[in-house]
Structure formats: structure tokens, C-alpha cells
């Protein structure tokens, strides 16, 4: 997962799980097979945009802390 600055396994899983739950990460992958790295960055940017975070495409500390906040279980991208 090259987009991760710190490479912590826990961070990786938090990010992956969050994007899977709320940003359709899995379904899109199955769909049209872009490279994992680009897709991950695209999804992270979507999430950072909605949360008003700096749009870096990277799982920086602010993004991870937003991901750890209690939230609604409805996806952020599909109706």
C-alpha cells in the first residue's frame, strides 16, 4: 500500500475498512480493475473532500483521526 506514509498495519486496515464500508472501495475494484494505488488515492481524496480535510490522497494523521470518529453507518457515496 504505497500511499501510506507510515505503513502501520493497523492504519492500513483502518483505512481499507473505512473506504470499503463508506466509499465502495471493494465494488469498484471488482468493476474496472484500475491499479490499487490509484483507486485507493482516489477514494481517500473523496473522503478527505467530504470531511473538509486536506485533499492529499494519503492516509495522514488527520485523515486517520477522522476515520476513527463515531459515525453513521450509511455510505457517503451511494444513495
Amino acid at each position: 500500500f504505497p500511499v501510506f506514509e507510515e505503513g502501520h498495519r493497523q492504519d492500513v486496515e483502518t483505512t481499507w475498512k473505512y473506504l470499503e464500508n463508506y466509499y465502495n472501495l471493494n465494488k469498484d475494484t471488482a468493476g474496472n480493475n484500475p491499479s490499487g494505488k490509484e483507486l485507493m488515492a482516489t477514494k481517500l481524496k473523496q473522503m478527505q473532500q467530504l470531511f473538509g480535510l486536506k485533499v492529499t490522497g494519503k492516509s495522514d494523521s488527520q485523515t486517520l483521526s477522522a476515520m476513527r470518529k463515531p459515525r453513521c453507518g450509511v455510505s457517503d457515496v451511494t444513495p
Binding site: 470531511f51 486536506k54 463515531p70 453507518g73 444513495p79
Partner: protein, 368 residues
């Protein structure tokens, strides 16, 4: 049901709801009251009505589940996923599921059931998430005070689906401050460990050298026990404390915690006469440890080292701070200046020459 994929809404306005079960953390009455209040938030801004039914499933069924509960959206135990809901439609459509493992409350403590229910009902009525951090439909849990007001963005979006409320007086919602909007005024401003924080409603706008953009966020994210709509704030940097004022109360915080014993009243803490019922603005001059309190057209001076008011006060603001006017909304110190704010203007008062040497719009700190 006539439901379109990208614009799901109910085609009838008289909706029903039923409650399938309860949380062990709250009495049945509190749960029912929380849900009733949540429905009222939406019925007050639309033509929709919500009637509770008992012997059958309502259009909207509210229920508490633990873990996997066969809807392809398992709950995950305490924290994180709190609840979810389904778009308008038959069967499970419109239903709201709450995580049974959460500690549900009816206070400002996590997690307030009314607030989460109101958010999820937004989904039940067809709304998606919002990127406005002040909106009810923002994805994260942002509840922290009990004077809940629906955000104008939420009202606009639900009325785009169902039209306005039949009430002759249309309710208006709270708005999230936009740092670069002109005419912006603030409730309070203070420095905070080298940064400057501007407070408005339940929000703060934070600027520091390392961030090109100002950060807009909810006060409650840093200090859950502080109220919104503050009156004044100042930093007593000699003891690494920031003090917030609202009415005749003062809170003291250090980093992210409100110090124990606060709030206290400003009369016993600072020695104000009882005739002083609020503080408009306050600033501590770092070099002298003297704190200036501005109240209406007068100001007091308090010595942080002696922890008592200096004699000979109050005095008229206009006497000693010429050029800032006779009323101050906010003030903070940066370098050798006091920056006074009144309505949407700010005045830079030179502490050496004791004159205003510049005035400009209030939002010049935000790189607009």
C-alpha cells in the same frame, strides 16, 4: 411507491412509524420521547406528518440490533458505526437500525439518541450525507450541546424533496460560518499557544503559521463541555490557560481539558461587582500579566500575578484606547498590538504609541 433511483422520496406525506424494541440504557419513555422529538425536527420544516402505530409495522420501523442482523450491514460493537437507515421504500425502506452496543443517552454525553435518530431519519426521508460540518447530515457524530438547531443546509435539502412546511412562519436554520464571507463578526477571539482562534456559534476558526487554510471545526470537538455562542475568551499564557466567558460564568481550559471546578462566576473569581453580568472581550498583555476586560463602554484591569483587580477601575474605553470606539466585541494581542474587533471591523492598536494605526475588515486573518 414511485421512487426514483437518484432522488428517493416518499410520495405520501402522512407517514407512520413503529418502535420494535428498546435500548437497556434508557427508559422506554425516554426512547419514545427522543424519537418523537426527532420526527418533529423534520415535520416542522416540511409538510410531512409522522404518526406512531402499535399493532403493525410503520412505514419507518425503529429498532436496536447487535452485530450482524441480516441486512448486509453488521454493527461493530461500541463506537464507530452507531446506526444506519434505508432510503424511502416498501419493507425495510425507511427503517432505522441502532447499534444495541452503544451507550445511548439523552444528555450531551455519547451517544445522544435524539441526535442520531434525527440524522438517520434524514436518510429515511431520502437525504444523503453532507460535507457541511455544521449540518445534521454530516457523517460523523458531532452532537455536543442540547440547544439543537437544524442547519439551513439540511432544511434546504429536505424541502427540495418535500417542499416547505405549511407553517405560516418558516423556520430558519443555523448556518455554518464561512471564513471568507464579508461582514463576518465573532463571539470571541483568543490566542492559543501561538495560534489564533475565532469563535462563532458552536464553531471555531483556527489559524496558525503552518496551515495555509484556516481550520473550521466544532468547539465541542476540542472542548465538549464548553457552550456555544461564547461572549469572550483570553489566554493567560503565563499559566498556559485559556479562559472562556459566557454570561457571568468563566471556564478555564488547559490544552483540551476544562479545569476542574469550572465554570465559576466572574464575581467571585475576578472580583467583578454584581452589576457586571457579562464580559464583551478580554485580553491579557503578555509582557505585563495585566488582563483587560471590556464591558459595554468601560474596561477593568486585572493583575494575573496578584490575582486581583487593579484599583481605579473601571475606566472609559475611549479614554485609554482612542480610536477603537466605545464598544468592543473581541480583542487579542499579537506582537506589540491589541487587535480590537467590533461588528465586522478590526482596529490595530499600537501598545507603544497607544493609537490605532490600522483598521480593516474582520476576516483578514484567513488568507481569503
Amino acid at each position: 411507491q414511485a421512487i426514483t433511483y437518484d432522488n428517493p422520496r416518499w410520495t405520501k406525506t402522512d407517514l407512520t412509524y413503529s418502535i420494535l424494541n428498546y435500548t437497556p440504557y434508557l427508559s422506554r419513555a425516554v426512547v419514545e420521547e427522543s424519537f418523537e422529538k426527532a420526527f418533529q425536527v423534520w415535520s416542522s420544516v416540511t409538510p410531512l406528518t409522522f404518526t406512531r402505530v402499535y399493532d403493525e409495522d410503520g412505514d419507518i420501523v425503529l429498532a436496536f440490533y447487535r452485530g450482524d442482523h441480516d441486512d448486509n450491514n453488521p454493527f461493530d460493537g461500541p463506537n464507530y458505526g452507531l446506526a444506519h437507515a434505508f432510503q424511502p421504500g416498501p419493507g425495510i425502506g425507511g427503517d432505522v437500525h441502532f447499534d444495541l452496543d452503544e451507550r445511548w443517552t439523552d444528555t450531551s454525553e455519547n451517544f445522544n439518541l435524539f441526535y442520531v435518530a434525527t440524522h438517520e431519519l434524514g436518510h429515511s426521508l431520502g437525504l444523503t450525507h453532507s460535507s457541511d460540518i455544521g449540518a445534521l447530515m454530516f457523517p460523523s457524530y458531532t452532537w455536543y450541546t442540547d440547544d439543537f438547531v437544524l442547519n439551513q443546509e439540511d432544511i434546504n435539502r429536505i424541502q427540495a424533496l418535500y417542499g416547505p412546511s405549511p407553517n405560516p412562519i418558516q423556520p430558519t436554520g443555523a448556518t455554518t460560518p464561512q471564513p471568507c464571507e464579508s461582514g463576518l463578526n465573532f463571539d470571541a477571539i483568543t490566542t492559543f499557544r501561538g495560534e489564533v482562534m475565532f469563535f462563532k456559534g458552536r464553531f471555531y476558526i483556527r489559524v496558525n503559521r503552518f496551515m495555509a487554510e484556516p481550520e473550521l471545526n466544532l468547539i465541542g470537538i476540542l472542548w465538549p463541555n464548553l457552550p456555544g455562542k461564547l461572549d469572550a475568551a483570553y489566554e493567560a499564557s503565563i499559566i498556559d490557560e485559556v479562559r472562556f466567558f459566557k454570561g457571568d460564568k468563566v471556564w478555564a481550559v488547559r490544552t483540551r481539558s476544562v479545569l476542574s471546578g469550572f465554570p465559576v462566576d466572574i464575581h467571585s473569581y475576578f472580583g467583578f461587582p454584581t452589576s457586571v453580568t457579562h464580559i464583551d472581550a478580554a485580553v491579557c498583555e503578555e509582557e505585563t500579566g495585566k488582563t483587560y476586560f471590556f464591558v459595554d463602554d468601560m474596561y477593568w484591569r486585572y493583575d494575573e500575578y496578584r490575582r486581583s483587580m487593579d484599583p481605579g477601575y473601571p475606566k472609559l474605553i475611549t479614554e485609554d484606547f482612542p480610536g477603537v470606539g466605545n464598544k468592543v466585541d473581541d480583542v487579542f494581542q499579537k506582537d506589540g498590538y491589541f487587535y480590537f474587533f467590533h461588528e465586522s471591523n478590526q482596529y490595530r492598536f499600537n501598545l507603544q504609541t497607544r493609537v490605532v494605526d490600522a483598521s480593516r475588515d474582520s476576516n483578514t486573518w484567513f488568507n481569503c
